[in-house]
Amino acid sequence: MIAEVSAWQQLYASVEREQSPHDREGFQTLFYSKSGLTESEVREMEARLVYFPSGIEAVKHLFSTLSTGKIMVAQIVRLTEPDRLGRRGRYLAHSLVFEPETFKRIESDPFLVFRQFRFITTVSAALGAGDWRTGDVPPASVEVTQAPTYGIETAKTWPLQGLKDLALLALRADRLASGRLAVAFIGEPTQVESALEAAFFAVPSAIRPHCSFDTYFHGCNLVDTYYWALGLLKSPSNRRLITVNTQSQRLDGVAASQPETAYERWAMALIERQQLETISRYRDHAFTICEWLEGRTRPDSLIDTTPSEVADSIFEVNHRLVPELLRRELEKALPAVLTSRVSQYLGSHAKPTDLFDRLREGFSLPKLTETLYLAYESQGARAPRHEEIQAIDWLLQRVDHASLRLLYACWTGQRDELYRELQLLNKDEYYKFVQTALRSRIVEPWTLPVPGRGDTFLDLYLATGGPGEYELAALVRALLRARETSCLSRLTPYVKMQPEQELRALEEIVAGQPETPGPFQRAVGDAVAALPPRRKGFVSRLLDL
């Protein structure tokens, strides 16, 4: 794939007065793209364009982010001609400056630029590139060919442990910078650049701008110009610098570090399995998901295009983070007291990839309400704590969910509300709810019959063992209130088992309801007749109560 992006330019060199567009001698910016760079940005860049000669003919490559966020990619070459005083040490720097968004289009990969862009290397070419009158130089068109395989070959030249160490150092560039710690890559500039490319391999585009480097830091001062990585010809005296030996391909004197973030764990696992191509193709996708898992970013379009096997590989090494993400996402929609119940339910009833899909799609309140109901149902619809019941009230004001509304009425003892709601259910819904209610005994059975559902109720009720002591009279009253008189005959077999007090109550009910089925009336009459005679007097009546 070929990408063409635009970059502003700056040309900096030590020249004689007659070569200078500004009529002065010495180190100076000859031209810069005035359409995109400010003078203060140019001054900031100049501070980084430092080159001290050594015994080798080094070409220096620089990668840095300016304080304004723009990305600087530069090359410095030594000029062999001495100055008018006969002094050596002249050099020419050609810098390209990208907008961060533009640079992302080439995967924030400076090595693509170093490898494919033709930097200016002579003073004459530099002087011919700009406008002497204005000091301006037009932006450059940078055309690079991208391929997922770039970087893999370099990475493969490193042993697995070395590659993991490099990747971790690069992934932690931001943290190192905050402590002003740097990584010294020991070797010649070409070796350093190769090692840096290997270090960049597992680094997603979003982090790459933090990994500033100078492939040939010889003689320069870290106090003034900080870089994440410095190319040095020999080991530094500062023991706080982390040292990477590019020849032995290992860190010197530093114990191997463990991955700490979700992305680090993923990258380390894939390097270990040598799945370098997956890293190369999906590091940005994986990084987005990992950042989201750890609550640092919102999901974006990359998440939608992440193959499920990549998502699986992320969840596999970060399984502990999924419930936390779930909880965080749920907290955005639900009161906190309900969040843990739903997340526990989802955590134990959904596969990680299903969860990922649900998280990716986002949670709607109606869906969450259904999940909450299922969570209560799965736990026997037992009444939760008072705060949770209050939160359900909040939820039901926003979402209509009949079954949860019924549960809420049961838990709060609102019988009239329950009766009204039960009447609104269709047969299946009624059946399902009553079954749950009877099984969990969250409400007295006689609160459940409603018109048109007498038989359904009795099917379920009788299946649970029929009326216990002191239940039949209340049940009969409930069925009569629901005008389900005809089903009373199904209770006839239970009449004779009732205690005296219950039978007397039934006698009174039947007496007041002549439409009661005949068999039931007769069963009540027979059972009452079989009772011993009632005691007389006030005291006896009191005892009968």
């Binding site: 180190f27 001290f52 500062n238």
Partner: protein
């Protein structure tokens, strides 16, 4: 302590080496451990591009490491690099000059310092030892105050700034000198510093190329001075300093009368604590195409450094601190003597002819002690009133010592007086 890398005043942390908490740089252990005995002196060379800053430093390293100074300044003089990097820098520079090569141009950057411990210079005791901390950046850094702030902020920490002027490289010396000085003053003010707390040493570099200007009286003395300016002339440092100051006065006149740089001079005198002049030739002759046609022969390159060490307030203050104790010690001693004498006379009178010697000694010593303590105490209180400071244990011990010596002398004087009276 001054961090030589980030220039912050900080306490270094010790963990497998000394580290500056501000910049995380590892500070040489020799620098930290020798901080009191070899206090740092920032050597700040200010000058335009091509005026010889880098070559001057290289020549200075060459003289300190390669010349016969240790033989001249026997038995104590030595110059030690403080780290591997310093050793390499000094060695490479010295070797480069020895091989007839010149250092390359210096890029615009905030430089890492090169540190050199110099000990045993035959000057005042407190000026014998110090750590010279050299910073070298490009001349472009002094073209604009904003660049100076960025690349040469070390200059703010210098007690004496060396303004290197190469007259052969100037089209209009009064104008260019004035502009350079102006840029420097603005830069230091922008850094929050104050040039009035600094000495200014105007160093005329590449002097071998301006000797023709110095051929006629009264400037010919400077020419002679330069010609005789090899290292061997440093055998007698005190005499050397005297001559150096004479030449400074001559160059002052030269700057005003010959160069016509009056505004530069007025500005320098108004904006700096003291202004001195010196003339140096880092190589002894002009190079050709970046190479020395003859052997390098540095002339008077140590002058600015000797001047800086002699004038540095941080070193002189140490001498003055010692001198400051003389007043109360004198009071104690004089008090002891006077009172001891009085005591001795009183003792003689009280004892009459009988045992006068014993009385004279006893009372003389007693009164001498009282007098010595009183005198010392008065001086001490007087000092504390005008210059509050904590007294150290050592200073406290010297007080009774001075009083005691004074009292014994007083007692002896009293005794002699009695003997005289008897006689």
């Amino acid at each position: 302590m001054l961090c030589p890398f980030c220039l912050a005043d900080d306490q270094f942390t010790l963990e497998e080496g000394y580290f500056c908490p501000g910049c995380n740089e590892q500070v040489p252990a020799m620098y930290v451990r020798g901080y009191d005995r070899y206090p740092p002196l920032v050597v700040s060379a200010v000058g335009l591009r091509g005026h010889g800053k880098t070559v001057y430093f290289a020549s200075l390293f060459y003289v300190l490491k390669e010349s016969s100074l240790p033989a001249l300044w026997q038995p104590d003089f030595f110059a030690l690099s403080l780290s591997d990097r310093d050793l390499e820098t000094v060695h490479n520079n010295a070797r480069m000059l020895k091989d007839g090569k010149l250092p390359g141009s210096t890029p615009m950057n905030f430089p890492r310092p090169t540190m050199l411990r110099v000990a045993g210079i035959p000057m005042w005791q407190e000026q014998r030892n110090c750590t010279l901390v050299f910073y070298d950046t490009s001349g472009e850094a002094f073209e604009r105050a904003s660049e100076l702030v960025k690349y040469a902020r070390f200059a703010q920490k210098a007690e004496m700034v060396m303004l290197l002027i190469s007259l052969p490289d100037m089209q209009d010396p009064p104008h260019e000198m004035r502009t350079l000085l102006n840029t420097y003053v603005i830069g230091i003010e922008d850094l929050g510093g104050n040039t009035r707390g600094q000495d200014l040493m105007v160093v005329y570099t590449k002097a071998d190329e301006i000797v023709d200007h110095l051929s006629a009286p009264p400037w010919s003395d400077a020419r002679t001075y330069l010609a005789n300016g090899s290292v061997s002339s440093l055998a007698n440092v005190r005499g050397y300093q005297h001559r150096m100051y004479e030449i400074s006065n001559l160059l002052y006149d030269f700057t005003r009368q010959e160069l016509g740089a009056d505004e530069f001079m007025n500005s320098a005198q108004m904006n700096f604590r003291r202004v001195g002049f010196s003339i140096v030739s880092a190589l002894g002759s002009a190079p050709e195409n970046g190479q020395m046609p003859v052997e390098v022969n540095p002339l008077r390159v140590l002058d600015p450094t000797i001047w800086m060490i002699a004038m540095a307030p941080s070193l002189s203050r140490r001498r003055l601190q010692w001198m400051e104790h003389l007043d109360w010690m004198s009071f104690a001693f004089l008090g002891g003597t006077v009172y001891g004498t009085v005591g001795g006379i009183l003792g003689g009178l009280m004892g009459g002819q009988q045992g006068a010697e014993i009385w004279a000694l006893a009372l003389g010593v007693f009164f001498g002690l009282v007098g010595g303590f009183s005198g010392g105490q008065i001086a001490k209180n007087w000092k504390v009133l005008f210059k509050p400071r904590q007294w150290t244990l050592a200073q406290g011990a010297v007080l009774p010592g001075s009083a005691g010596i004074g009292s014994v002398i007083g007692g002896i004087v009293g005794f002699l007086v009695v003997l005289l009276a008897k006689g």
